[in-house]
């Protein structure tokens, strides 16, 4: 089954970011190779008044849907303002809501995010909020009408993988909206793991952009995401610590 967020269907479950590349051309090539159909860009990096903006002009492909993000804002008020500006300038009502008042670890602020999400949904935005892997917060966001939730695997840009997997499992189990694991995915194996857990999609940026060969890395992520999803749909076997050949507790039932 295809992934659907709001009214949009996606063939690819790999979402990508546009930061940290050595050039816009390299970004374009890598993102095309990734098969990604949803790419996020920071409002602070693009020149929204300039039709020929270097980043945007390299993202002008049928394949890409644009997901502007609010990176840089520190509270709900700033986030709502930035989202409005992005909608007007980039002609999309999709917004990746990220509010991190802490510039060191870029930890998302749950209180301000919920506040902003509620306001933006009312204003007709398709809201994808970046948050901690907090199952309760995910339900609260779902209740105010966000179209997906984007819990983190580990701190943004850290490449540490899914350190929050116990909580991600709860979120996946409970969620009625797509779950996109965002942040911390540093290797294709991390992405595959997220998909095996039942995440609907992952968002990857640093691991692709900072690699020696971003195009090859983008392809590796594409394959990993597909493999992980396929495994999830094919139903993974249960893990077990030891072989289960005999049944010491119930074998007596078979005795004549």
């Amino acid at each position: 089954m295809k992934l659907k967020i709001a009214d949009k269907e996606f063939n690819s479950r790999l979402f990508t970011g546009t930061g940290k590349f050595k050039s816009s051309k390299e970004m374009e090539e890598a993102l095309l190779a990734s098969g990604s159909e949803l790419v996020t860009m920071a409002l602070k990096r693009v020149n929204v008044d300039d039709k020929e903006d270097d980043i945007l002009s390299h993202l002008n492909h049928q394949q890409f849907n644009w997901l502007p993000n609010t990176s840089g804002v520190r509270n709900a008020k700033e986030a709502v303002f930035a989202a409005q500006l992005a909608r007007e300038a980039l002609e999309t009502n999709w917004i990746k809501l990220e509010i991190h008042p802490d510039p060191k670890y870029l930890m998302p602020d749950p209180i301000e995010t919920l506040k902003a999400a509620e306001e933006l949904v009312k204003e007709g935005f398709i809201v994808l909020p970046y948050i901690h892997a907090d199952p309760v917060l995910c339900k609260r966001l779902e209740e105010v009408g966000t179209h997906a939730v984007m819990p983190l695997g580990s701190p943004i840009g850290s490449n540490k993988g899914l350190r929050t997997d116990d909580f991600l499992k709860i979120i996946v189990e409970q969620s009625n909206v797509p779950v996109v694991v965002d942040a911390g995915i540093g290797a294709p194996s991390h992405a595959a793991y997220a998909m095996e857990l039942g995440a609907d999609a992952v968002l990857v940026n640093t691991a692709i952009a900072v690699s020696e060969n971003p195009v090859a890395m983008a392809k590796a992520f594409k394959m990993a995401v597909e493999a992980g999803r396929m495994a999830y749909e094919a139903k993974l076997g249960q893990e077990s610590a030891k072989a289960e050949a005999s049944s010491p507790l119930t074998s007596f039932l078979n005795e004549d």
């Binding site: 050595k22 602070k44 990096r45 008020k77 930035a82 500006l85 008042p101 952009a209």
Partner: protein
């Protein structure tokens, strides 16, 4: 607690002794650790770390790449005035230096902006001397809105101000304020700043607490390398950064490495830092703090700046003029310090691209600070 209190925990002589006593084992320990603390920073800036320079550079490069990617933020200084009531022994704008004094008016500022915009700049650093009557808050209140409308990001490097003034400047759209302590050695500070408001060591030292309380988006710390033993002075700057970061946790931070050259204005230097030592310091900062912006001006040479891009620097200026009016009227010669790298912005941008990095001109949006 403010830093003027906190600094009492650090005794200059003790810190200096600690640094010079660090051993190869301390350096190796610091290089292996995941969380590097101030004690490790002492080891990384110590003479014992000099044989580990390549390892430090490799680590700094990796850490910077992961956090900042293959990008370098570009900015340009915009000197508005060289009037100054202070005497600073090392500075070309010092009250006792006989140069023509100049403060730009609205039209002259617009002329400068026009040139900077034609080079592609979107982040600007406003610089002035300290002359509160002519270049004080009234002047800033008139000129900042004028400048703000042309740039995405406004930084200031002017005299320390009161907290209310900083609040006003933030409302006018100032994103970043840089104030360097020059030296954290109070006795030596007084020798180099004998006259003017700047001679008040503690008022300057308290500036970042006032900025933090005012809610500034980014602030910069640093020392003027050469006034004191650079290792000890840099430890104090790192301790200052560490203190501020924990207290004003919503603020971004920046560190800069202005290095005095021998014979600058005839001032006697306590230590002369070599290129190797500057690289050591840059790498030490990055290993100590992965998120801090490390900034470099055109004081350094072409060759040095080309290479340092990969070593941890994340923000850099080019094609700078350090005299008010210098961009639109390059003939006047009222420079604050001598520029070593004289390449044009586009030449320097090409050098960045050749290193496999993207020169970023827009890394902020004025809509993000409400």
């Amino acid at each position: 607690m403010r830093f003027t209190e906190k600094i009492k925990e650090y005794k200059w002589e003790q810190i200096q002794e600690d640094i010079y006593r660090k051993t190869a084992a301390d350096v190796e320990h610091a290089l292996c650790k995941r969380e590097v603390n101030l004690e490790d920073f002492k080891a990384l800036i110590s003479p014992a770390a000099e044989p580990y320079l390549e390892q430090m550079a490799q680590k700094s490069h990796q850490l910077t790449l992961q956090r900042f990617g293959k990008t370098i933020q570009m900015y340009a200084p915009l000197y508005l005035s060289n009037e100054c009531q202070n005497i600073c022994t090392y500075c070309g704008f010092s009250l006792d230096v006989k140069i023509e004094r100049k403060t730009l008016n609205e039209q002259e500022i617009l002329d400068e902006i026009k040139v900077l915009k034609s080079y592609g700049y979107d982040h600007v650093l406003i610089v002035t001397g300290e002359a509160n009557k002519t270049v004080g808050m009234d002047y800033f209140k008139r000129m900042i809105p004028l400048i703000k409308s042309h740039f995405s990001h406004i930084a200031m490097e002017v005299q320390p101000l009161d907290q209310e003034d900083y609040q006003t400047l933030i409302q006018l759209g100032v994103n970043t304020v840089l104030v360097y302590q020059e030296t954290y050695n109070e006795n030596n500070y007084k020798k180099h700043h004998p006259k003017g408001k700047k001679s008040n060591f503690n008022y300057r030292l308290d500036t970042h607490d006032r900025l933090g309380s005012a809610g500034i988006h980014k602030m910069g710390v640093g020392v003027l390398i050469g006034l004191e033993d650079w290792r000890t002075d840099s430890f104090f700057a790192a301790a200052h950064l560490d203190f501020l970061e924990k207290k004003y946790w919503k603020t971004n931070y920046s560190v800069s490495f202005p290095r005095l050259r021998p014979c600058a204005g005839g001032v006697e230097l306590k230590s002369v830092m070599t290129d190797k030592q500057l690289v050591q310091l840059i790498c030490a900062y990055r290993i100590f703090n992965q998120e801090v912006e490390l900034s470099m001006s055109t004081r350094e040479s072409e060759q040095f700046r080309n290479h340092v891009i990969k070593l941890g620097i994340t923000s850099i200026s080019a094609d700078s003029k350090t005299d008010p009016g210098g961009y639109s009227n390059p003939k006047v010669n009222l420079e604050q310090f001598e520029i070593h790298d004289k390449r044009t912005t586009s030449q320097f941008a090409k050098a960045i691209i050749n290193q496999g990095y993207e020169p970023v001109f827009k890394g902020w949006d004025k809509s993000l600070q409400q």
